[in-house]
Symmetry: C2
Subunit: 358 residues, 2 copies
Amino acid sequence: MAKVTIQDVAREAGVALGTVSNVLNHPERVRPATIEAVREAMDRLGYAPNQSARLLAGGKNVTFGLVLPRLDHGFSLQIANGAQTEAHRNGYDLLIANAANSEALEDRYLAYFKGSQVAGVMMQPMADRFWRPAAPGPVPMVYLDVHSDAPGYFVGADNEAQGRLVTEHAIERGARHVAVFGQTEYVQLAYRASGIGRVAQDNPDVTFEFIDEGARNLARDGYEIGRRLAERPASERPDFVIAVTDVLAIGAIAGIRAAGLSVPEDIRVAGGDGNPLAWTGGVSLTTIAPPGYEIGRRGVQFLIEQIEVAKLAELTGEPVDRTVNRQAVVRSFLLARTSTGMKPLPGSNPDFDLGTYL
Amino acid sequence: MAKVTIQDVAREAGVALGTVSNVLNHPERVRPATIEAVREAMDRLGYAPNQSARLLAGGKNVTFGLVLPRLDHGFSLQIANGAQTEAHRNGYDLLIANAANSEALEDRYLAYFKGSQVAGVMMQPMADRFWRPAAPGPVPMVYLDVHSDAPGYFVGADNEAQGRLVTEHAIERGARHVAVFGQTEYVQLAYRASGIGRVAQDNPDVTFEFIDEGARNLARDGYEIGRRLAERPASERPDFVIAVTDVLAIGAIAGIRAAGLSVPEDIRVAGGDGNPLAWTGGVSLTTIAPPGYEIGRRGVQFLIEQIEVAKLAELTGEPVDRTVNRQAVVRSFLLARTSTGMKPLPGSNPDFDLGTYL
DNA sequence: ATGAAAGCGCTAACAC
DNA sequence: GTGTTAGCGCTTTCAT
C-alpha cells in the first residue's frame, strides 16, 4: 500500500537517487550492469514513477489529449482511432475524454488536459453554429471537424467535395432522376448538400429532387423515405437516391426492398460519409471514404508541427507567432460499390464491414 | 505563452497565494467578494491550475482511468459509455485509453494511470485464456469482462445466462429444430454456447444442431450460414436460429431473406449480446440487453467502494484487506422483438437503433 | 557514475 | 478570514 518512491528503489538497488532517475530518463549515461540492477529493484518493489512529480520537475510529457463530444458516433470513433495510430507511430500516447454532449464537461476536460501539461490537445467541438476557438494557450491545440478564421490549427473534411463526388458518380452511372434527402441542420451536412446542389446545376437535363423533411438522420428515417419513394408510380420514381449520411442510406435500402423493389436494379443508392457501421446485408454501400480517421491522423501531425515550431523558437530565441491560422482539409474519395451497380472489388477492405465492430 | 501560476493570480488579485488556493479548494473559507475578485483575475490571466502540482501537493484526484483493448468494438464502447455516465453521476471524470490490441500498450497505459495517481483504474483485459490480474497496487483497480479467483475486483456478464435465456425463449416460441452457430473461441462466447447447450439437454424433444465453422463472427459469415440454412429442403430446415452474437444474427437474417424466405414467418432468429450497432432494417432483433453499459457502471461503483473502504480504514487505522476477491455479475434479460415473432413495443428504446450510432 | 541540493506549482497546516 | 511555510517525488545541475 505504501507507495514506492525513487528513493526506495535507489536504496534497494544500492545506488544513488540520481542514478535511478538517469536509468529512467538517460539510460545511455548509466553502465548496463547498473541499469539491470536498478530495473530489477523496480520490478521487485512494483515501482511506478509518479507522473505528477515527473512533470512538475520538468520532465517531458509524451501524452496527447483528445476531447470528443460523444463516443457513440462512428465519426468520432474514426477520429479516435486515427489519432491513436498516428500518435503511437510518433512515440506519443493518447488519452480520450468523452464530453457526453455536455458543454460544461467539454470545458472541464479541456481545462484538465491543459492543466495536466499534456504535450498537446485535440478537440472535436460540439456541433454549433456559434462556436469560436479559445484563445491560444500554453499547450499546442488542434480543432477537428471545424474551421475558423481565428488564430489556431483546424482540420476538417471537405464536405462539399463529398457531396460533389457522390453526385458526379450518379451522373456517370446514368441517373435521370435523383432524389436527395437528409436533415441538413448541421453545418457539415449542409456543405454536403451544397456540393450536391452544385453538380445539379451543372446538369440541367437530370431531374433533382430535394426532400427536406424533419428526419433525425436515423436509419429508420431513411427506411420510411426509401419505402415511400419506392411506392411511387414508376414514372415519378427516382432512379438514384443520395442520402447525406450512410446510416440514412442503409435505411433507405431496407425501405426500398420492403416495398418490393431491388437495389441497385430498380433504384441505386449512395451514402456520403463512409461510416463502417453502416451495413445492409448483401448489398455493399457506395459512399465516400471515412474522413474521420484521416482527420485524427492529421490532427496529431499538426500537434507535432506545433511542438517542432516551439522547439525551434526556443533555440533561436525568437517568439512563436501566436496568430497563425492553419487549416487542413482532408481529401475525399469515392468508394463505388454494389448499391450503385458497381461490382465489388475482389479484395475489398474488411475495415468497412460492420463485422469489425461486432 | 509564459505559464500563469497561482502566484500571478494572487498578485493580480491583490491577495495572498493561500487565498487563491482556498478559492480553488475551499471556497467556503473565503469571503464572496474576494472569491469574485480572484475568479476574475484567473479569467483575465487565463489561469489553468497545474494538475501535477496539485496532485503532488496532496490534492485529491477525481479522475478515473479506463483501459480498453480497442475502440472499434461495440462492447467496449458500451463499457466506456456506462462508466462515463456513472462516474459523472458521482462527481468523477473519466479518461479513456485505447490499447489498440497491443499488450505492450495495455501495460503502458496501466502504468501511466497508476503513476498519474488517478482515483481508480478500470481495465478490460485483452481476451486471453492465460490472463491473470496484476498484484494489488496503490490505486483502486477493477477488471471488466473477466473473472479470477485471485485477489481483486471483477465485473463480468453472465454469459451462460445469456445463452440460456435466448434458448428458453426459443422453446417458448415453439421451436422444434434449433440451429446454433458462431465461433466460440473466446471464453465469453464459449460460456454463451454452454448456456444454450444446457437448455438443449433439458429439452430432448427439440432438435438442436450446433454449427461449428471457421466463422470469424462477422456479419458476412452470418449471411453465408443463414443463406445455406434457408436453402435446405423444408424438412431439414431449422425453424429457429440462434447466433452467439448479434452481428452474426443480422447477417443470418439478411442471408435467409436473400434465399427467399422471411423472418420471422419461416425462420425465427435471435442474437445474444444486445449490440446496438446491429441493425437489420425492418425487422428488429431479439437479443439480450447489452451488458457492456452495465458492466461499466458497476465497475465505477466498485471503484468508489474501494475508495470508501480505504477512507474508512484510514480513519480507524486498521489496514485494508488486500486479499479480498469481489466479483459482480451483471444480470441478463431478454429483449424479445420482431425477429422471433414478437410484436414491437410501442415505446421501444431508441438506444437500440443503429441510428444513434450514425 | 555518484551524492547533494535547488526548485517545479501547489495544498494543507499553521499562526495571525 | 488572511498570510506564511513545509514538503509532495522527481529532474536537473554541479561538484566530486
